[in-house]
């Protein structure tokens, strides 16, 4: 039973930039939460504060009710897996895993038992005698994971652990990590800038930008119902159109959509898969390019003022460049002042 509470944590670097700005998050027991954001969004800094490698300038971090805000890393019940795996190259795999246990004065036979068990868990049984430099990138990252797991930390911290691996390996490893995490029911905080990783692994996703939370939700909700224009633009592909609402209609160039909100500026968001097209002579949009992906097609469209939109279509062969098009959005959301103010029912 381990829960993590992050309460209004702030990190100000010398020079006055707030890397993390009054951030709060509760992670439930056994939950895997992804911190997702572009580089510089403060997600890594936040993770490093939970691990004890950075001191918050304000706020509190508690694990199972115990305040760890000012404890050094060696006295926190957290285990961190680093992006560059950070294995100790002068030790073999066994010694890498045993180091932490030895510091805890565990008897040698018990250490051996535990190390072998965790190697088995990450699929590296029998690799104890290898030097870490003789392992492949994926194996090194597995050893790094095992090095954290063997100490049975209350909170597992993963700092973009797959960033240096190739696409194929990354997909396999994230499934493995997810399986292990669910088997051990270990509370996990995972930092990534890859939305695929977040969407496929997380119980909940925290989308961060500029040191602040943009949205905290289940992956499907973050995708279907982004609460801010930033999240809308960051997760998946999204047509974001700046425009004006006048008398219940959103207007941009010759394109209008009914939008039952008060008059004023607004940002309209439409997923490519929610934007249907119909051939038309009416002014609206024209086809710029058609790309056929086999399973589906993508149509690039230009509004009269040059604004570029994308639409996903089932039969790309129905369209050709230069053709006039009528836009038929099925589901839209609208944002004003960085807040969602309207969402059509799905």
């Amino acid at each position: 039973m381990s829960v993590l509470h992050i309460v209004e944590v702030t990190k100000t670097f010398p020079g006055g930039t707030n890397a993390v700005d009054s951030f709060s998050l509760d992670v439930a027991d056994g939950e895997l939460v992804c911190l997702l954001g572009p580089s510089g969004s403060g997600k890594s800094t936040l993770l490093r504060m939970v691990g004890g490698f950075e001191q918050p300038t304000g706020g509190r971090i508690t694990i199972d009710g115990e305040d760890v805000t000012h404890l050094p890393p060696e006295r926190r019940p957290t285990g961190m897996v680093f992006q560059s795996h950070a294995l100790w190259t002068h030790m073999n795999v066994f010694k890498n895993l045993a180091f932490g246990l030895k510091l805890r004065h565990m008897p040698a036979n018990l250490i051996k038992e535990k190390v072998e068990a965790v190697l088995e868990l990450v699929g590296l049984a029998g690799y104890g005698d290898r030097m870490t430099t003789q392992l492949s990138g994926g194996q090194q990252q597995r050893v790094a994971l095992a090095r954290s797991l063997v100490l049975e930390p209350k909170i597992l911290l993963l700092d973009e652990p797959f960033a240096s691996l190739d696409q194929h390996l990354r997909e396999r490893l994230r499934e493995e990590v997810r399986d292990i995490q669910q088997r051990l029911k270990i509370t996990t905080l995972f930092v990534t800038h890859g939305q695929d990783e977040a969407l496929s692994m997380a119980d909940r996703i925290v989308v961060m930008a500029n040191g602040k939370t943009e949205q905290i939700d289940r992956p499907d909700v973050v995708y279907r119902n982004p609460q801010t224009p930033f999240v809308a633009g960051f997760i998946g592909t999204m047509n974001l159109i700046e425009g004006e609402v006048q008398g219940g209609h959103f207007v941009r160039a010759d394109f209008t959509v009914p939008l039952p909100i008060a008059d004023g500026p607004a940002t309209l968001a439409i997923r490519p898969e929610s934007l249907d097209l119909a051939a038309s002579d009416k002014p609206g949009a024209s086809v710029h390019r058609v790309t056929d992906y086999g399973t589906h097609g993508l149509v690039d469209l230009d509004l009269a003022d040059g604004t570029r939109l994308k639409s996903m279509v089932a039969h790309p062969d129905l369209f050709r460049a230069g053709q006039g098009i009528e836009l038929l959005p099925r589901a839209v959301a609208a944002y004003r002042n960085n807040q969602q103010i309207y969402r059509s029912s799905p």
């Binding site: 490698f53 060696e74 950070a86 180091f99 954290s148």
Partner: protein, 274 residues
């Protein structure tokens, strides 16, 4: 020259010319010395010695002045190297890992020792030692040789410490190691080989240090190189000097073997500003 260097000829004539000239100029003289060391009789103008043998080895190594000089040199070198390591390695760690006011200025100030013509500086130091009565004493020589090792023993270990991945140290903190334990179990072993090479090179460099020992140490302190100077100037038996040269060259040979990794990769030359 460049013509040949850029347009690769089928046979590397340029390389052969360089190799031949360098072999004659660099290996040749040393071979002559080596031959003398194992010669008992070699009268001009014979091209090959009349008689080879080990007679002069026994005679040279049996001389008390040789033994005294050897023992003194080893003592001096050991003391200087240990002192240098004891004061320089912690300083190198501080320069590499800690931030404190004046860090950069202090770091580069060690270049000052290399900004002066060396012997001029030694004379200036000797003038101070004259007033302090350190001339002709063991510790006077220790001090002057210690200064010679400073830059080497700080700059190379600093690079070694900086090359240790901080994430490795953080990972060790993460599994429960105290900062001191991290240094002992992670940082030091990682930086170890390079630091060992620096210590070894400074040991050998100190062993051969001649000018400071001669200027400060004479007449009381006679190290091996100082003894060698007097053999060259005053000793009629050529073989004594030759045998001593061969014996003296042994530490250098060990250094040659160990230093390859430090000198390779151009890191060493960069340390000299290349």
């Amino acid at each position: 020259m460049t013509t040949l260097a850029l347009v690769r000829p089928r046979t590397d004539w340029l390389g052969i010319v360089f190799a031949a000239l360098l072999t004659i100029a660099i290996v040749g003289p040393l071979l002559v010395v080596g031959t003398w060391a194992f010669t008992e009789v070699w009268r001009y103008p014979n091209v090959i010695p009349q008689q080879f043998g080990f007679r002069f080895w026994g005679q040279t190594l049996g001389r008390p002045d040789v033994w005294n000089a050897l023992m003194l040199s080893l003592q001096l070198t050991t003391v200087v190297t240990l002192l240098s390591a004891a004061i320089c390695l912690p300083a190198a760690y501080a320069f590499a890992r800690m931030s404190f006011p004046g860090r950069n200025i202090l770091f580069f100030s060690f270049l000052a020792g290399h900004a002066f013509p060396k012997f001029g500086l030694l004379v200036a130091i000797a003038a101070i030692f004259l007033q302090l009565d350190l001339i002709g004493t063991f510790w006077g020589v220790v001090l002057i040789q210690l200064v010679g090792t400073l830059m080497f023993m700080i700059w190379i270990p600093v690079a070694a410490f900086q090359a240790v991945d901080r994430r490795m140290e953080e990972a060790a903190r993460d599994v429960g190691a105290s900062p001191l334990r991290v240094f002992w179990s992670i940082t030091l072993p990682q930086a170890g080989p390079t630091i060992a090479a620096a210590v070894l090179l400074s040991f050998v460099g100190t062993f051969y240090e001649t000018e400071g020992a001669w200027l400060i140490g004479a007449p009381g302190i006679r190290t091996m190189p100082v003894l060698m100077i007097s053999y060259i100037n005053n000793q009629m038996v050529i073989q004594f000097g030759a045998v001593l040269s061969v014996v003296l060259w042994v530490p250098s040979f060990i250094a040659l073997m160990f230093a390859r990794r430090v000198i390779g990769g151009g890191a060493f030359a960069r340390g000299f500003g290349g």
